[in-house]
């Protein structure tokens, strides 16, 4: 066959695979990413089916179980032992997954939605909007993350909703910067110029051309942001700024008082902490895997 025919054949072999299919293929063959997916799956499963999995109510305790001293460790009836208020630790950890998942998702959603909008506006419209928005982001970034969250909680008062908002707000500049960068890069592409030349309106270009291509770093960042959000929320809970009712089974809050019992009942501190590590590890593994999978340098070579 002629060279032209051979080349035509080659193009046909490569054409059907798109960015997403390539990425998914690479992800599937990445062992650590698969481990991450498994961990996330476990985390989400436990969070969603907590009422079914947990044998007891995480808030009510039976002080008579303590028999005077703190605190019985893991046993056959209480897999994770009993906490200082006589509550079943296993149930508390299981319900804790709910809080962590909820708070993580909401915070990231807040940061992502606001950040993306601001970043897209700054990147696409440029000029004054860009300068003003980016200065604002710089100012927000000039206060170290946790301190900014602490400041917001000081303003709003302690509580679960408040720490969700606080952590969400600290995520905004990251997503804004990211989106702006993606939009700026995409804006220079020829297909955008072509679309403008044909007369497509600016919002339509933003929606159908720029945004879909800018999405991949956002997806990676969102996954990693979830990991950070879970840790930050636990941190704020640890400092006593989270849910004010100590009966609430939030993992970070569960770690606050346990340093006192490290000598006698280390499981109270170790188990929630390990739970946090496992969940966060899952999101980090998947985030890293996604970053590698979506890297445009590998496109068309799967």
């Amino acid at each position: 066959m002629s060279v032209a025919e051979a080349e035509a054949r080659e193009v046909q072999f490569e054409a059907p695979a798109g960015l997403w299919r390539d990425a998914w293929h690479r992800l599937r063959h990445n062992p650590s990413a698969m481990v991450g997916f498994a961990l996330i799956g476990l985390f989400v499963f436990v969070a969603v089916f907590a009422p079914v999995i947990a044998p007891e109510d995480p808030r009510t305790g039976d002080l008579s179980r303590l028999e005077g001293t703190c605190c019985p460790g893991p046993s056959a009836e209480h897999w994770f032992g009993i906490d200082q208020q006589g509550r079943d630790e296993f149930s508390r950890v299981v319900y804790g997954a709910r809080y962590s998942l909820l708070i993580g998702v909401v915070s990231v959603a807040v940061g992502l939605s606001i950040g993306l909008v601001l970043g897209a506006i700054a990147g696409y419209f440029g000029g004054v909007a860009d300068s003003v928005l980016m200065r604002l982001m710089d100012i927000m970034l000039s206060i170290p993350g946790l301190l900014l969250a602490i400041g917001i909680v000081a303003m709003l008062g302690p509580g679960i909703t408040q720490i969700m908002v606080a952590v969400g707000v600290t995520q905004i500049p990251i997503f804004a910067r990211l989106m702006r960068g993606s939009v700026l890069a995409a804006r220079e592409n020829d297909y955008v110029t072509a679309a403008r030349a044909v007369g497509v309106s600016r919002p339509a270009i933003l929606g159908s051309h720029i945004l879909p291509n800018a999405m991949s770093p956002v997806i990676v960042q969102a996954t990693l942001a979830l990991a950070t959000a879970i840790i930050d929320v636990a941190g704020l809970g640890f400092l006593g700024l989270g849910p004010q009712d100590p009966a609430t089974p939030e993992w970070g809050t569960m770690l606050t008082d346990t340093t006192r019992y490290l000598q006698t009942a280390p499981h109270l501190a170790l188990i929630p902490g390990i739970a946090i590590v496992i969940s966060v590890l899952g999101f980090n593994l998947v985030g890293d895997g996604l970053r590698e999978a979506l890297d445009p340098k590998f496109r068309g070579r799967a």
């Binding site: 636990a234 000598q263 590890l281």
Partner: protein, 335 residues
């Protein structure tokens, strides 16, 4: 080069301005209003009137803001702590060195362990050290600092009884504190026992605080070394016949260090944030515990002064990092 420096310094102005406006607005947004916030329980009709006059709360916002800037910048007056009745700036002078000492120790830990780990991991790509470095990096960022601190406390203090877990120095030892940096103070006092005691107290908190920077430094050094190894100039150096050692040190290592300079700014932010959590676990008398207590006690003057100061430090560090990076990397100056 000069243009870059000037441009960068000019950028500082809107950031500082915005920061001061943010903190100013924040004090006014606090529940109860500025008078309650600044006086706490000592609020009486007279003192409220005094505060209102002092802060000119009847005046237009711009006048108030100007007065706030003047008091803070010109008079260097950050207010009075509600709890201890001491000037905030005085307490700051005690608390800040404690946190800095801890942050520097953590940074040292991260660099001394992280750079070699990343470098060796890259040179023996795929080997056991490489795998280990990836695991370390991953665990470092997945573990909450306060949990690592608790773990370290449990293993080294309670189980093994090797290291202390509370405070900066044993109460049995007594030395003068001219600088408030206990390591320096011990050296100045010429007291080796005190020095060893101070260092022992620093070890666990520094490891806990430095865990995340360690993970990041190891990862970046590894990535940078991998990138540099494949560069053309390395190939040229080898082709020229340079001994492998020279190629390693003069070309690969030196250039791999560049990206680390860029993340020092990021790391400072992490260290300042992480210090809050680490200090709480180890009862370290630094800025972190100071601010957390301030929140619990609604000690708003301390919160305001503390957050403003820390942010200022952070901005300055970023500035210095940016400028020094321009010094190291000539390409930046041209852009």
């Amino acid at each position: 080069m000069l243009r870059f420096v000037i441009r960068r310094l000019l950028l500082l102005v809107p950031i500082l301005l915005g920061l001061s406006i943010l903190v100013f607005a924040w004090i006014r947004a606090l529940p109860g209003g500025p008078a309650e916030a600044l006086l706490g329980e000592r609020l009486t009709p007279e003192s409220r009137a005094q505060i209102e006059e002092q802060y000119g709360l009847d005046d237009p916002v711009f006048v108030q803001y100007w007065r706030y800037v003047k008091t803070t910048v010109v008079d260097r007056d950050l207010g009075t702590s509600i709890n201890t009745r001491r000037p905030v700036s005085e307490e700051l002078k005690e608390r800040f060195p404690a946190t800095i000492e801890l942050a520097v120790a953590a940074m040292l830990f991260a660099m001394v362990l992280g750079v070699p780990l990343g470098y060796v991991a890259a040179k023996r790509y795929g080997g056991p050290i490489d795998q280990a470095s990836l695991v370390v990096s991953l665990l470092g960022v997945s573990m909450p600092i306060f949990f690592l601190a608790i773990l370290l406390k449990y293993i080294f203090a309670i189980k093994l009884g090797l290291l202390p877990t509370v405070g900066r120095m044993s109460v049995l030892i007594d030395i003068e504190h001219p600088t408030n940096f206990y390591v320096l103070d011990a050296i100045i006092a010429g007291n080796p026992e005190a020095l060893w005691d101070v260092i022992k107290h620093l070890i666990l908190p520094a490891i806990a605080l430095g865990s995340i920077p360690l993970a990041i430094v190891a990862r970046i050094t590894r990535a940078a070394t991998l990138d540099v190894q494949n560069e053309d100039y390395v190939r040229t150096a080898r082709a020229k016949g340079l001994p492998p050692r020279t190629v390693d040190v003069r070309h690969i290592f030196r250039n791999a260090l560049l990206p680390i300079a860029t993340i020092i700014g990021l790391q400072t932010g992490l260290l300042l944030s992480g210090a809050v959590l680490t200090e709480t676990v180890f009862a370290w008398p630094g800025m972190g515990t100071w601010l957390v207590e301030a929140i619990d006690n609604r000690n708003y003057p301390v919160l305001q002064g503390g957050i403003l100061f820390v942010s200022l430090v952070f901005v300055m560090v970023n500035l210095v990092v940016d400028l020094s990076y321009a010094l190291i990397n000539p390409r930046i100056r041209v852009s």
